[in-house]
Symmetry: C2
């Protein structure tokens, strides 16, 4: 493939990826009110999915330092969305879980997102969506290999 072609593909990809992320987040912001930032929502979404996790796990998952997680968790804790529970066996470990208030907020937002997606997803064939996500996941693996290569 020529350099120009690669250049063009990179440009198209970066543009559309940037734009889609921005627009999706903007749509979600309307649903959020001013309760949460995007990063806070991503964290809550993750904790909801796994049920309970540690700061270290979050830091690895989101590829940031643990101190960045502490800061976000502190803000969510102040708002009453997250609980900290110390492990009795290994008292260094702190388990993070959603409070009832946190779960309620998440489900409320998630339902709205679901409705949003319904209106958009109907414009795509299921096979197109499946192929799209598959290629995306393949790209993800390629990036992981590239990273671990050396």
């Amino acid at each position: 493939m020529s350099n120009d072609n690669i250049q063009q593909l990179v440009n198209r990809y970066v543009d559309v990826s940037f734009s889609v992320t921005k627009k999706a987040e903007a749509l979600i912001t309307e649903q959020l009110g001013s309760n949460l930032t995007h990063d806070q929502l991503y964290i809550i979404r993750y904790i909801n999915r796994v049920g309970s996790c540690t700061s270290t796990a979050l830091a690895e998952e989101f590829e940031v330092k643990k101190s960045a997680i502490t800061a976000i968790i502190n803000r969510l804790w102040e708002k009453g969305f997250i609980q900290r529970t110390r492990d009795e066996k290994d008292r260094r470990v702190v388990y993070l879980t959603l409070t009832e208030k946190g779960e309620e907020l998440f489900w409320k937002i998630d339902k709205r997102i679901q409705q949003l997606v319904e209106g958009i997803i109907s414009q795509f064939e299921p096979s197109e969506i499946e192929q799209f996500i598959k290629t995306f996941e393949k790209l993800n693996h390629a990036l992981i290999e590239q990273r671990d290569k050396k």
Copy 2:
């Protein structure tokens, strides 16, 4: 499509999109050294492409307030990567362009990104890439319609 299916697709999409962006930016960070942040690179990349633009145009393109652009441009200006030129016809307007130093930096980074992408893109059929980006662009348009709907 059932709610569970939508839920699953949203999860897969959010996860893979988040992960790909993070990993691509991590790979690029190695090329960047500590010269630029990602946002600064995106801005420089845009100005390089259009040649010259205003703060207002950047704010619209990146969907942030103009004061956020001023802050980023100030930092790039301090580093000597960007020039400000006042329009003589309409003296409210300031045109932003890359300095020679800014252009050199961009081409250097861009070349490295090109090489990175070459190593990854070879694992995909051209038709698969084309279809992937097309679906992505279609998603972008669907989001724009959704936003403008009401």
